[in-house]
């Protein structure tokens, strides 16, 4: 199971007859540990290693992808032969859609992980979930269930291609998550907190898990006395600690290169580079180079070094996120967005850490500006319809704003709006820096670790999906 670039280059050369217009080998080895403490006991524990090689061959516009768990040179050459034959049998007529990376971009050194997870005893990892469980349960008798999850992985990748590019990266990610269920007998509420980074065990060392357990338990208890969120159109303030699901869903996805191809425009942002697409106070970057953040990486899964991409600068659309094929069609250099879930998957343009940059407005004044609306303190999962621009995301923690003051907590809110429209009407952007929260972004059939964050912002008008009061109100 060699990830040695020399071996992979030798295999690539041995299969030279099958290169077509472009050939690439992606080799991966990954070791995972997963610990789930549920219902007061270690419920699921697993640890293991897997490895595989994916070979991609282009003939014209047509690519074929073959993967195998066999690392022998013969197996790799056979994969290249199969891929080449598959791509050739119905090869398109167009030019090959693969761009070389810009050689002026220096690859970043591999990240420096302080506490490699493979050097941490299982018992130490188990202690993280046990301590968190204990703290969460101690928060009160209304805490009915706790699930604490620890996971880490070490992923080594080597990418070589027929453009004579060679790249290697080591991604170590460590994640902790706690889910709490609270009930007072009538109402059940849940809350979670999580942390994760391109980092070793240091990400969760010390009292990190306990601190998050306390936060989650307190939130679940708080939500027990929350009324259902109101429904209808109203102003919404998203706090800096809320996380950036908003920018990820409503804006980020629409700026992925594959949704903006001139041959297949899908996104509302297609063809709008250089145009004003947002309020002038809005600037958004996607940055894969920030040390330690969950979505960061040394290079992407096509071997292109991670970069900081300015997506929107003072309201003007500047860049899309590209993999090699979308970059080629648009006549630009790939910018480090070609990611894949594993050797079993083909790369596509993905986000890394998507961040709205701080503005100049006072966060407290932003809240005071709202006569009646919603303050979002933590966002949950979201989704976007690229074509219509419609996005929706769940709200984990929210409060009513009445006459400029934060009043009671409300539960069960969802925000739904149109991404391009919301970008234009966001009119207040706080001078605070948002907490970067983590998530697993799903696109088509692949998951990718991402980060996101925003400063405090005001959306003057957006639909809040909640419960509509009626005569048959039966909320349990």
């Amino acid at each position: 199971m060699s990830l040695d670039p020399n071996d992979l280059v030798a295999a690539l050369n041995a299969g030279r007859a099958h290169w077509g217009d472009f050939a690439e080998i992606f080799a991966e080895r990954r070791a995972d540990t997963s610990i789930v403490l549920d219902d007061g006991r270690l419920d699921k524990m697993s640890a293991g290693e897997e490895a595989g090689v994916g070979v991609r061959i282009f003939h014209g516009r047509t690519s074929a992808y073959v993967y195998t768990t066999d690392f022998s040179r013969d197996a790799i050459v056979e994969a290249m032969r199969l891929a080449s034959a598959a791509a050739k049998q119905r090869a398109g007529t167009g030019a090959t859609l693969v761009a070389a990376l810009d050689r002026n971009i220096a690859p970043r050194p591999l990240a420096n992980y302080r506490q490699m997870p493979d050097g941490i005893p299982m018992a130490t990892k188990v202690a993280v979930v046990r301590n968190a469980d204990r703290v969460a349960r101690a928060a009160g008798t209304t805490i009915r269930q706790v699930t604490a999850t620890y996971s880490d992985y070490i992923q080594d990748v080597t990418i070589v291609n027929s453009l004579e590019e060679v790249a290697q990266d080591r991604r170590v990610r460590t994640v902790f998550r706690i889910d709490v269920v609270a009930s007072d007998g009538d109402i059940i509420q849940t809350a979670f907190e999580s942390t994760g980074g391109l980092a070793g065990f240091e990400q969760v060392a010390g009292d990190v898990g306990e601190r998050l357990a306390r936060l989650a338990a307190e939130r679940a208890r708080r939500m027990l006395r929350a009324r259902p969120a109101p429904a209808g159109t109203m102003p919404v303030v998203c706090a800096a600690e809320a996380g950036g699901v908003l920018v990820h869903e409503a804006m980020g996805h629409g700026m992925e290169g594959d949704f903006n191809l001139p041959s297949k425009p899908m996104s509302a942002f297609a063809g709008k580079i250089g145009q004003m697409v947002a309020h002038p106070k809005v600037s958004i970057v996607d940055d894969g180079t920030i040390p330690g953040l969950y979505g960061s990486l040394g290079c992407d899964d096509e071997g292109v070094p991670a970069q900081r991409r300015v997506l929107i600068e003072d309201g003007i659309l500047r860049n899309y996120m590209h993999d090699r094929t979308t970059a080629r069609e648009m006549g630009v250099a790939p910018n480090g967005s070609g990611r894949r879930q594993s050797f079993r998957h083909t790369p596509m343009p993905r986000m890394s850490n998507t961040l709205m940059l701080a503005g100049a407005d006072d966060p407290a004044a932003i809240i005071r500006s709202v006569p009646r609306g919603l303050l979002v303190k933590q966002m949950g999962g979201g989704q976007v319809n690229i074509v219509s621009g419609e996005f929706v995301f769940k709200v984990q923690e929210a409060y009513l704003i009445e006459n400029g003051a934060v009043t009671e907590p409300v539960r069960g809110a969802t925000l739904i709006g149109n991404g391009p429209a919301v970008l234009k009407i966001i009119d207040l952007v706080g001078n605070d820096t948002g907490a970067t929260r983590i998530g697993t972004c799903g696109k088509y059939d692949q998951g990718a670790p991402v980060g996101h964050g925003i400063p405090t912002v005001r959306i003057p008008e957006i639909v809040v999906g909640g419960i509509v009061a009626g005569v048959n109100e039966t909320i349990t």
Partner: protein, 448 residues
Amino acid sequence: MNNLDTVQQTVAFARAAGADEAEAYLARTRVLTIEVGNGEVETIKQAEDLGLAVRALAGKRMGLSYASDLDQASLHRAAARAVQVAEASDADEFIGLADPVAAPNVEGYDPEMARHSADEKIDRAFAIERAAKEYDPRIAVTRRVTYMERESNEAIANSRGLGAEQRNNLCGGFALVVARAAQGQEMGSGSDVKRRYAAFDPQAVGIEAAEKAVAMLGATNVSTQRASILLEPKMTGAFLGIIANLVRADNVQKAKSLFAGKVGKPVAAKGVTLVDDGAFAGAPGMRAWDDEGVPSQRTVVIADGVLQGYLHSTYTARKANARSTGNAARMSFKLPPDAMPSNFALRAGNGSPDALRAGIARGLWVRNLMNLHTANPISGEFSFGANGLWIENGKIVGPVRGVTISGNLTDWLLNLRGIANDVTWQGAMGISVGAPTVLIEDVSIAGK
């Protein structure tokens, strides 16, 4: 070495490494995916994948490890690792492995799929795209137009003498299209999956995607209100995928299900019957045995609105002093099995979907839902983005989007007022569901 020998040998390795009991599970998966666009092949993906999982028991503690290749050193390493993980875990008296029981005869493998050429399969993908484009001139873009096949060869063995093999395959298609007109652009998707090569109809997938996109052109918003919703079969299926969490015995035992303690009690409207059947002929999840080697069986979960029982794995069954219902499922070979539905279906009603629609005074015919993954099966609360067609007095008024529908899963089941006869099978939320068009009254719809 054949697959069964490999898993039996791995069980022996785990025993030799100190396991009191052990189980090995091997899945070899062959995949073919053909993606086309604008009349050209974009990507062909083909591979043979494999994953082997070992579960070891050290006393009453269990650990899992795995390997992605089958050389002897890897099998030994995975076996030894599983024992180490078990030793770090917590003891639980209910942990155990499945006993050997003969599985039903299930025709899960269609040899036709291997008989047809790659060329013909590429044409199936093109047929999807062509059908979408020919449906309406406003279809401007097609994306991810895909034909796929998957074949799995599984083997399982454990130290209780269980040893089994099964072979399954399926094929399917997917399309995403954009309809564009002066009023704007809208997306539609189509998908289908079949267990027989001949049963798959590429045109239907293309037409479904195109019809959905075109029907949404000119969509507007509606005011915030309570009204009926009519769910098309795929949307009903999406709800069933979430409701399935309520009948998983592991969730029930961990106080994470609103159905805990409700066996024998009404939990749904009269007429609602939910059945899980792992061996259901032609269903996407059809299989002879589950991921612990327990034979597939038919389990009635809700009969005429009354909760009958839960879906069990070997562990949850031992804990409940019941028998496994053959519902153990591994999300990946890297993770231990959970109690999950296999083929989970809402029994068809009598009337047609049109007849249900005709009876709606005011409501939304829901044809797409967003943010399904954020439903909270523990509290039961859901709030989804929805779009579809607005109905007044039984007639379609026009397309609507940008609204949310919200409520609680328990009310969803209790407020089911109509079930049509158009049961359709699909994959939803990682399981296989069979669902008809349904009508639910008095739902919160938030809009302008």
